[in-house]
């Protein structure tokens, strides 16, 4: 049975000892040691570089930007270590780089949107127009709290508990209103009283309502503007300032209080009216 199978015969002819000797030449051992050295040293350098980057940026930049920079340094370091390893192993990098260039162009075309989002994200990060926890109004339609700022998108948590993912590219092109950027805000109340009512009386009631409301700030003072004579009544604007966290309390209490005081003092809200004249005969 011995030596009948060609594969078994080939194995018998193979001199394992000789092959092993060829592999374990001094030159090969040297190369292996060199590669191990580059790998170890490279990883240590990358670790130190990421550590320094993290420490330097943690205090000066936002956590998100700092993390992004650390990741950038880490992956760049890994890439450089890999290139050095390949070089030390005697691989011809020119062909690899050429192939990488072509692949890069192909990937670039394919990932055009993603790269656009990535670059937009970097611009948005440098602008510092918002941070996690801010309330954003994007394009006058989507309103929510910034849940996370990622490489390609920003995720908003809406007030009815939905998660909205907005690509960074869209954010760059849209008007973003950061509702909670500043510590105080103004509540704008537009109302209309009938032509029979006294504007000064309405002004006094509004001022008293603001003064008695604990959430309305005394300074900056409330603003009262007579906006003009409308079709149905006199249009008034009343703006009161409040600390941004008190939005719901102020909005509810001010509207309730104004309605109650107007009712008590006999000031009427104007509503759409149409006067019809009937021609006789």
């Amino acid at each position: 049975m011995q030596g009948t199978n060609p594969a078994v015969r080939a194995l018998e002819n193979l001199n394992l000892k000789e092959s092993l000797n060829n592999l374990l030449t001094l030159e090969a051992l040297g190369t292996a040691l060199k590669l191990a050295g580059i790998l170890a040293l490279g990883l240590i350098v990358v670790r130190i570089a990421t550590g320094i980057t993290g420490r330097l940026t943690r205090k000066t930049l936002s956590p998100r930007t700092s993390e992004l920079l650390v990741k950038f340094v880490r992956y760049t370091g890994f890439f450089l270590v890999a290139v050095n390893l390949a070089n030390a192993a005697g691989l011809d990098l020119s062909a690899l780089l050429g192939a990488a260039g072509i692949a890069g162009i192909a990937i670039g075309f394919a990932a055009q949107t993603s790269i656009s989002n990535l670059i937009s994200g970097i611009f948005l990060l440098t602008e510092k127009a918002y941070a996690v926890g801010d309330v954003l109004d994007v394009g006058g339609g989507t309103v929510g709290i910034v849940d996370s700022i990622d490489m390609l998108s920003v995720k908003l948590k809406t007030f009815d508990n939905r998660l909205v993912r907005i690509p960074n590219e869209t954010l760059v092109k849209s008007n973003i209103t950061n509702v909670t950027r500043y510590p105080i805000r103004r509540l704008n109340i537009n109302l209309s009283i009938t032509y029979r009512d006294d504007i000064e009386k309405a002004r006094r009631i509004l001022a008293e309502t603001a003064d008695s409301n604990p959430w309305v700030l005394r300074n900056p003072a409330p603003i009262f503007i007579v906006e003009g004579f409308g079709d149905s009544g006199i249009n008034l604007f009343f703006g009161v300032w409040f600390a941004k966290d008190d939005f719901v309390d102020v909005k509810n209490s001010m509207h309730v209080d104004i309605k109650r005081r107007f009712d008590e003092e006999g000031v009427e809200f104007a509503f759409q009216t149409l006067t019809v004249y009937q021609k006789k005969g």
């Binding site: 500043y182 510590p183 105080i184 003064d211 700030l217 300074n219 300032w241 600390a243």
Partner: protein
């Protein structure tokens, strides 16, 4: 008014300050506190058991074991006070003005072991903002005259248990005169002193310079206020406070 008293279980107690009524009740391990802000000023009255307490109170309960006493301690609001001075005062360059403003106290309610159960403002709160709409400090709004020593005498003759006298020195270190209409007084650097029904704080030194307003406390009692004991120590050391840098906010504050 500001004292320690024992609660008997199931009984409701009330203390009246001019701007607020405070109610207490112990029910087993639960200790309830309620506050009422009347539309008209109340006549001050010390703690006493109430037969018919108001029915529409909103009680807040804390669970306490092994306590039988409550202590009321005068304290300042944790927020700075924004004192609106009426009328506005003009201070010429290089002039230092000494006076007194009145700050509302709040009641710190402590259990026997020193646990703070609640801090209750003794009048309806009103917030205000000191600074620009983009940057500043949320304060408690206070309206006060800038009283001279003679006017202080009238207050000392009939002091309010819910108000602390705050001695203030304002110095204009700018090259031009200034109109002082508002002051921001930080409360964490001020101690509250008390004695014979009068409450006071450390003197506040405000220095207006071209860079902004520098505020620091001057420890110790004002000689006009007599001898007093510390009732509530300052929360922070006597470090200086810069409320603003640059002329914009200064103009905003002073109206120059």
């Amino acid at each position: 008014m500001w004292s320690t008293f024992t609660l008997s279980p199931g009984t409701t107690y009330g203390i009246r300050f001019p701007g607020a009524g405070i109610y207490f009740r112990a029910e087993g391990v639960l200790w309830g506190i309620a506050v009422e802000y009347p539309d008209r000023p109340l006549r001050p009255a010390p703690a006493s058991a109430l037969r018919n307490p108001p029915k529409d109170l909103e009680w807040r309960y804390s669970a306490l074991l092994g306590a039988a006493e409550l202590t009321l301690r005068p304290a300042l609001s944790p927020r700075p006070y924004e004192v609106q001075l009426e009328p506005t005062i003009s201070i010429l360059p290089g002039v230092e003005l000494d006076g007194y403003v009145f700050l509302p106290l709040q009641a710190e309610i402590l259990a026997a072991a020193g646990t703070i159960l609640a801090s209750v403002p003794l009048q309806r709160r009103k917030n205000s903002w000191f600074g620009s709409p983009q940057e500043g400090i949320l304060c408690e709004a206070v309206v006060s005259d800038f009283n001279a020593a003679e006017e202080l005498g009238r207050f000392l003759g009939n002091p309010s248990p819910a108000v602390a006298v705050c001695p203030v020195s304002v110095r204009n270190d700018m090259a031009e005169g200034m109109n002082l209409s508002r002051l921001c007084i930080p409360t964490d650097i001020l101690s509250v002193y008390g004695g014979e029904g009068i409450y006071a704080t450390d003197r506040v030194l405000c220095s207006f310079t071209a860079d902004g307003v520098q505020v620091k406390p001057k420890r110790g009692m004002d000689p006009l206020l007599g001898r007093m004991e510390v009732r509530h120590p300052a929360r922070k050391g006597p470090e200086e406070r810069f409320f603003t840098r640059g002329m914009d906010l200064l103009r905003y504050i002073t109206g120059i």
